[in-house]
Amino acid sequence: MAGQELEVQKKKELASQQEKTIPARFYMPSTDIFETGDALKVVMEVPGVPKDALDVKIENDVLSVEARIETANYNGLEPVYTEYSVGHFARSFTLPEQVDQHNITAQLEDGVLTLTLNKRPETKPRRIAIQ
């Protein structure tokens, strides 16, 4: 396999409209968004973030996620070869109207954050029975 071009995933740096007040760089978590019958699911990759360092907020129809990594883990380590940089993660999305903002659940497992944005009952598709 030597000589083959190695494909390493690239991390995207956050290019947000709101600037952060701390000098360090933030990264944009890779995100999948998909829709099921009664919810919108947002799945984000935030490796290295423990549960208590995760902030999910809703303000003015904007859902924002901020996830902070633990820098203490790197104490005493001296880099010799690097392919990625580390940093906190941040990303925000404008919520569509059909989302019930009071009915959102979040789950973090192995560095993957899953947000379930339940739809308002009145916007769910309904099947009309034919009499």
Binding site: G3, D32, G48, E78, V86
Partner: protein, 139 residues
């Protein structure tokens, strides 16, 4: 600790990591296939720590093999959307990956430890005793 501001610490860490980006330490000896999660290699005294960002892996499908100076890491990442969904945005990658690294030092294969926590894979490698540098006393 020379710095106490946690934000400052992160910035220093980022700068330190940037300055070793694709350093010659592993030269051309890394090869692999698939969308491999990026990895960083650190030194901790005589030992080596390999850290990879690998969210959403299954622990029991990760395979790490060490022989002499070569370490091979393989695994599979699955992304499951479930049935009957419509995709709006798709950025996460999935699939099988494998990669081998040729380290510039010899590794004690019996003392390799690996940890998978919060989506981060860390492999702790100890330098083989017979490969360690010895200091010579001058008589």
């Amino acid at each position: 600790m020379p710095y106490s501001d946690p934000f400052e610490t992160l910035m220093q860490l980022q700068e330190a990591l940037d300055s070793f980006r694709s350093s010659a330490w592993l030269s051309t000896s890394t090869s692999g296939g698939g969308a491999f999660p990026p990895l960083n290699v650190f030194r901790k005294k005589d030992d080596i720590v390999i850290v990879a960002e690998a969210p959403g892996l299954k622990k029991d499908e990760l395979e790490i093999q060490v022989k002499g100076r070569t370490i091979q890491i393989a695994g599979v990442k699955t992304v499951n959307y479930g049935d009957r969904v419509s995709l709006h945005r798709r950025e996460r990658t999935s699939g099988r990956f494998s990669r081998s690294l040729d380290l510039p030092v010899e590794i004690d294969a019996d003392k390799v430890k690996a940890e998978y926590r919060d989506g981060m894979l860390a492999i702790f490698l100890q330098r083989a005793e017979h490969d360690k540098p010895r200091s010579i006393k001058i008589a």
